[in-house]
Every structure is written in C-alpha cells, then in structure tokens.
Amino acid sequence: MEEKTVKELKKIVGRDGVLHTPEDLAVYGYDGTFEDSSPDIVVLPETTEQVSRILQLAGRERIPVVTRGMGSGMAGASVPYRGGIVLTMTRMNRIIELDEENGMVLVESGIITAELQAEVEKKGLYYPPDPSSNRQSTIGGNIACNAGGPRCLKYGVTGDYVLGLTVVLPDGRILKTGGKTIKDVVGYDLKSLFTGSEGTLGVITEARLKLIAKPDVIHTASAEFPSLNDASRTVNAILSAGIVPVTLELIDDTAIACIEEAMSLGLPRDVEAMLIIETDGSDKDSVAREIERIGAICKENGARTVTVAKDEDERNNLWKARRSIAPSLARMSPNKLGEDITVPRNAIPEAVRRLKDISARHGLPIAVFGHAGDGNLHPNVLFDLRNPDERATMEKMIAEIFETALDLGGTLSGEHGIGSLKLPFMERAVDAVSLDVQKSIRNLLDPLGIMNPGKALPE
C-alpha cells in the first residue's frame, strides 16, 4: 500500500484505527473456515462518515475493500483474497436507541449479537435470531449473511427483524432505508437487497431491528431414536400436526460419538439419532401441552425415550450437547468442513439417507446435524487437510452434497452464505436470469468492483 494512502487513512480514522504491521495483517486474513489470505491494511472506523470517506478513497485508488465483523463467518466471505483494505466494524458497537414502546432498537453494526440480546432482555424484550456464533459475531455480519440459528424455525431469520439500514455505498454515498414502521411498501425493499449481500453492495453501518416480547416459559425435550430415518420422519410429523416448536434439532450417531469422545456428556451411544425440541410461549399450560404432544408424536414415530428437561440445568445440558457438536468434531478430526444445505422439509429423510450414502461410498465420515425443522442440515465432512487424497475426496463429497440438495429441490446454503467456498456451485443453484439480474445490480452499485471482489456471485 502506498505511503500516501496509509497517511490519508490515518487522517480519516486516526492513528489507532489503522493497523499494518506484518503481525496485524497476518491475523486479519482468516474467518471461521481454514481459508487465509492477508490484506494490505486494516482500518477500524468509528462513524458512518469515516466509512464514507474510506470508500471514496478506495474507489479513487481502486483498492478492494472487504468488510469484516468478528471474523466468524463459515464461507470465506470476509477473507481478503485480493488484499486491499479489511474494514473492521468492531468499534462501531453502540446501541443508539432502544425504543421500548415501539419494540425496536437502533444499533451500530459492530455490536456483538449476544450483547445486544442481553441488553434488550433486561427490558423484557427479545431479539430471536440466534446463530450459534452469537457471542463472537456482530449484527452487521449477521445481516450481511442473513444469519439463521436454531430458533429461526419459529421466529424467522435475521432478515425478518431488519426494519431499516444505513448503508455506505461503494461510491461513498450514505443510503438510508426503512424506518420505525412495521409496514412500509413505499419504493423497492432495499433493506432486503442489502441483507445477505455479503459486503458486495455496500457497508452496513447502522441497523434498526424489530424486537418481540420475551417468552416467559420454555420447555426442552430430547428424544432418542434407534433409527435415523425415524428421527428425520418425525420432524415432518411434528410440523404437519400444526405445532411450531422454537427449535427442532437433529443430531446423528456420528455427531453423538464425537461429543461423547470429546466431552462425555452422557448421551446415548446406541441410537442412530436424537432430536432436541423446544417450545416456548407466555402461557405455562399451553407450552407444557405442546411439549407433551410433541413427545407423543416422537413415540408414535419410533422414539425409544422422550425426556423433558425438568429445570434450567437440565435444559442447559441439552443445549451444551448441541453447541458442542462443531468443536467436538474438531477435536476428533484434524479438519472438518461444515456445509449448510437446505431442503424442503418433506425431503429431509431422503436428504439424510443420501448424505449417509455419500459417506459410505467415499469412506470419509459425515456427521449430520442441524436445524432439521426448517430443512437446514449441517453435514460435516471429517478429513485431514495434510493428506492430499483426503482433501480431494472431501471436495468430491462436497460437490455430491450440493447435488443432493439441488436434486431434492433445496439450496446450497441456509444461513452461512456463499462467500468464496460455495461459488463454484452458484450457477447450478440459481436461475440464469436471476443471476444475470443480480450481477447487474452489483455492477450498478459497484461499477469499479472494489467491494468484496470475487465473492458471493460468480464473475
């Protein structure tokens, strides 16, 4: 990076907001995957105006800009493959306005999602989207990837809570969209365009988010299934009965074995799958009735046992098991690649069957778990990156996993995004005209191609 550009950036954000020692650059090249490529400089803005000036400068000098929150993405979306500026939003982390009366909150995009949740919960309010990384990801990152999470089955994904956004466009103009109203049909719905745009259309600096009343009662149950097929059938049986649980999580035997090897939580090792199911609401009796009905449906569909957590401790234990899956897989295997395909819910049993078949044919284990209730599965291939054969096999398996999802009428990604890792499969997954329109929109907003180049859409 040219000396004069560095100077200019320091003038915009101050000396403390610009990092460029080799050590700084070495730690801003990765996200939550195994991808790694260092930027030329790291800039930490503190205001929307600063972001605007940085983008003007980047446009003038044709410097790529990769926006980054806490770097916990699962698709390489914030990895700066082409160098340039990593624009780190973590210092824009204020709550600007908590409007209790209207049930909404205006925040800067670098706030940590779990901290926002804790703050609004103090007032009896609730921000439902709960990506597993909510303690190490920012609202801005969640919006840019339209993050999901277990609770999204009942409450919807991040995008469903975005009421308004402030976005700095690639040319430095500041765009505001949406506002304090729940309904708003004036003009195109631009907030939905920027949600899930993975840093390619602009930089989200502020967001107004919808909040709901915090549910008082939660019940959590776990059901053990000797047959994986029965477990996946049960998912649809519950939903077809007109019940919408908060979460409906599937954990297969490979995942259970890994959790038990790594942490010994006392999960059953002689079943093919478990479901973790949660219901919530404000009325004690109706929530209890719901979980009972769910228990009965599980039993009818082949569950060996159904256990309802009696207290907060038991509940936490169940969730500990669910949250421990990804790290446990990491402990048991040198590398893992977690995908997040989504299929229509009636195709869940078939999808699970085919995933197991892919594993059997290629010889590398696949752990299947995920938010089965909304058809969002996380097949994780376990392999060793140091072994070139295994890497090649893994890549073949990933391709087959995507084929499976598309064959069954599903899609590549439910909540992680495309980033760079899923790009090669984009053209097969998205309608050609739609893709063409998307490219045109991108080109219109970012004609110079400086915003997160090489990500989200094929070039």
Binding site: P22, E23, G32, V42, M70, G71, S72, A330
Partner: protein, 426 residues
C-alpha cells in the same frame, strides 16, 4: 540455557487444533478493550503458529503480542476445542528466551527472586519511604499529584507496608489453639510477606484457631510465577524442585497458601516436572496436597466466627484462583459465614482486574482500561468492602480505589474472617 537444538518448543496441539471459531474473543479482556484481532487469543494463536511454522518472522512485535496477554486464562476456559491460548503465550515467551536470553532476566529471576533475603534488602527503601513518614508527607502536601500519572498509580499500588517482612517475624512452628487436629505447611508468598504481611499473619492465626499446627519453612523460595511470566520456565523448575524438597522435610498433610498466584503455580509443579523421572512422582504428590486457604478452610470443620462485620461485601475472583485452581464458591462461602456481612455479587466478578502481575507497569494503558471496567462493576455493586485473595489483584484494586477517590476497602477474605474471630460475640 539449553542448546539451540534441544529447544523446548510450544506444543503443537495448542495451535493446530484451533478452529478459528472466535469464541475466545468474547471474554478476552484485552480484545474487549481494543477490539482488534491482534489483541485477541485467536490472533495470538495464529501468530504463534505462523511464527513457529515459518510463515511469519519471529519479530519483537510478534513476541510483544505474547506479552500483551494478561494470562487471565479466560480463553483457556472458554475454548470449545480445549486448546489453551494463554498457556501458548507463556510458552512463546519461554521460546523467545531460549533463542535470545536476556541477561537482566537471569539476574532478576534466578538471582534476586529466588533469594528471599536479597529481595527483602532491595525493597527496604520502600519500607523506609513509609516508616519515616515520607509517604504521609507526600500525601499531606499533595506531592503525589505532582507525580506523573503512571508513577502516581504505581505508588498507589503499595499497600500499607509491614515494618518487617513477615518471613523474618513469623515463627517456623505456630501451635494450634487447643488440641491440634492436623499439621499443615504454610507457603508464604513473596508478595504476601513483603507487602501484605498482616493478611498472611491472619491466615496463620485462622489456621491455628481451626485446630492446625502451622509449619512455615523459612527456606521456601518464590513459587516461580514471575519467572514463568517472563519466559524463564527453566528457572521455575529449579524453584519447584527446591520448594518440593523443603516441604517434604516437614511431614505435613496439606500445603496452604493465601496467594492465588502462588497456589496456581504450586499446583502446576506436577505437570511442569512430569517429564523428569527423578521428580515426577514427588512433584505430583506435592501439587496434590496444595490448597488455597479458602479451599482448605471449607474442607475442614471450620469454626464459625462469633464477631460481626457490618458491611456490604463483594468479591473479586482472582484469575489464578478461579480458573487457575477452580476455586469459586469457597471464598464466597467464607464471607457469607461472617455475622453481619451482606454479600453482594458484582457483575463480571471473574473478569480480570488488569493486574496480571506487572501489566500496570509494562502495559499501563491496557491495564488501566481493564481496571476501569472492573471498577465500574465494583462501584455498581454498592459494596463497602471488596475481598480478593491475591496480592496482585489487591494492589491493582487499590489503584482503582485511589484513582476514583473511593472509600472502598480492599482486603483478603481471610483477613475479614480473622477480624470476625478476634471481635468475639457482639
């Protein structure tokens, strides 16, 4: 110092298994102040890996990131994969020392700190500063305010110093009150002896009152933590062997310490010496018998003190007690046992106070930021007294209290217990 070809390298497991999930960023005190990846555990792990694998030069700035870690162990605790970034930072410091030993560290850690006598000599001017009334004068005349900020804060770290180090006053054997039910060893830490003598004297009194005959070997040396912090693991091993031997002589059941840092280091001896066939067993047995004073008191049938302390008391978890030794509830239980004491839990009681041994001196800015977060929580609790069983934490909290001109008293929990015992019934 070992030859370059048999360097002790940090263990690969501590960095190869990192899945870069970033969870450790959420509870790292330095990350949360700077909000940069470089100041985070995941960043340090990445730097260590790249440095050791040759992708990055092992520059002074890379090692500085290892020294910027406060070793509060929060990342070790939260890591879902079970790697220990804080330990890796210490190992990197040791690695640097092996490649490029600094002579002053040899003088300080093998020379000075391992000889209690010489340490007492060099700290004599500080005691003089106070004994002659200079300190009172400095405060009375407002001269303290003329000191540069950091010096002023360092001055504020000093508790009211004992006239003589406790080591030279405390008898080797303190008989129990009444029938002796057990014989225990007391490991008197350097900082406790030199700076918080009243507290360790109280520890011994409380033990004696609870049926313990207390042996305090005079020839025990520094536990080794300061040397460890500055990358001299080799020196720590020498100290460990010496201390193990000293306590083997006295035929005691348990080894008690009232310093969180000493306790966590003593409990590590077993691990540190596990590769040394002559010492592994002895070290393991030694570490297995070490107890923090609060941990020990809750293990034995403790006598409830009759006297009362009417105050709102909060508790700050020393990192090396809570995470280093998994002692969480015991100090709280001790405080709650005291008549009149109203125990209040502050927010983030287990968040580092920013002391980390000497960070107030070496990383002043960061240390103050971390301290401010702590002090907001302390003040938010509305407590009159903050108890914490670590000399480093107490010094740091004293700085916080003085900076905010607050009236909150900083004490060791055992001192409160001792006060309650001596007050008798009211």
């Amino acid at each position: 110092m070992s030859q370059k070809n048999d360097l002790h390298k940090p263990s690969e497991n501590e960095y190869l298994s990192c899945i870069r999930c970033g969870l450790c960023l959420s509870n790292c005190p330095t990350y949360r102040e700077y909000l940069t990846e470089t100041a985070s555990p995941r960043g340090r792990v990445a730097l260590a890996r790249k440095g050791l694998e040759g992708d990055l030069k092992l520059t002074p700035n890379l090692y500085e990131q290892m020294y910027a870690c406060f070793d509060c162990l929060a990342c070790n605790e939260i890591c879902p994969v079970g790697i220990r970034p804080a330990d890796l930072a210490l190992e990197m410091r040791y690695f640097q020392e092996q490649m490029n030993p600094k002579r002053w560290k040899g003088t300080l850690f093998s020379g000075l700190l391992s000889k209690p006598k010489s340490m007492e000599r060099v700290t004599f001017p500080l005691r003089l500063y106070q004994m002659l009334g200079v300190r009172r004068l400095v405060y009375a005349l407002g001269l303290r305010l003329l000191m540069p900020g950091q010096l002023r804060d360092m001055e504020a770290m000093l508790p009211h110093l004992p006239q003589r180090p406790l080591r030279s006053v405390l008898p080797e054997i303190t008989e129990s009150h009444g029938r002796s039910a057990r014989k225990v060893g007391f490991f008197l830490g350097c900082a406790q002896s030199l700076l918080f003598a009243d507290e360790s004297a109280a520890t011994v009194r409380v033990l004696a009152r609870n049926g313990c005959t207390v042996i305090t070997p005079r020839d025990a040396k520094c536990c080794g933590m300061p040397a460890m912090g500055y990358g001299r693991q080799d020196t720590v091993l020498d100290m460990a062997r010496h201390n193990i031997e000293v306590f083997e002589k006295s035929g005691i059941e348990k080894i008690i310490t009232d310093c969180a840092t000493c306790g966590s280091t003593l409990k590590e001896y077993g691990k540190l010496l596990s590769d040394d066939p002559r010492w592994a067993e002895r070290a393991k047995s030694f570490s297995g018998r070490v107890r923090d004073i609060s941990e020990f008191l809750m293990e034995i049938p403790i006598i409830k003190p009759e006297g009362a302390i009417d105050a709102r008391i909060t508790y700050h978890d020393p990192c090396h007690l809570r995470r280093g030794q998994d002692v969480r509830q015991e100090p709280r239980e001790l405080i709650k046992m005291i008549n009149g004491a109203e125990f209040v839990e502050m927010n983030e009681a287990d968040w580092c106070c920013g002391s980390a041994g000497s960070q107030l001196i070496t990383h002043y800015g960061t240390s103050l930021k971390v301290l401010n977060r702590k002090m907001d929580n302390v003040e938010g609790s509305g407590a009159d007294i903050i108890a914490s069983g670590c000399p480093g934490c107490q010094m740091q909290l004293n700085v916080g209290v003085r900076r905010r001109r607050s009236k909150i008293r900083v004490v060791h929990p055992v001192l409160l217990l001792d006060e309650a015992y001596s007050k008798k019934g009211t």
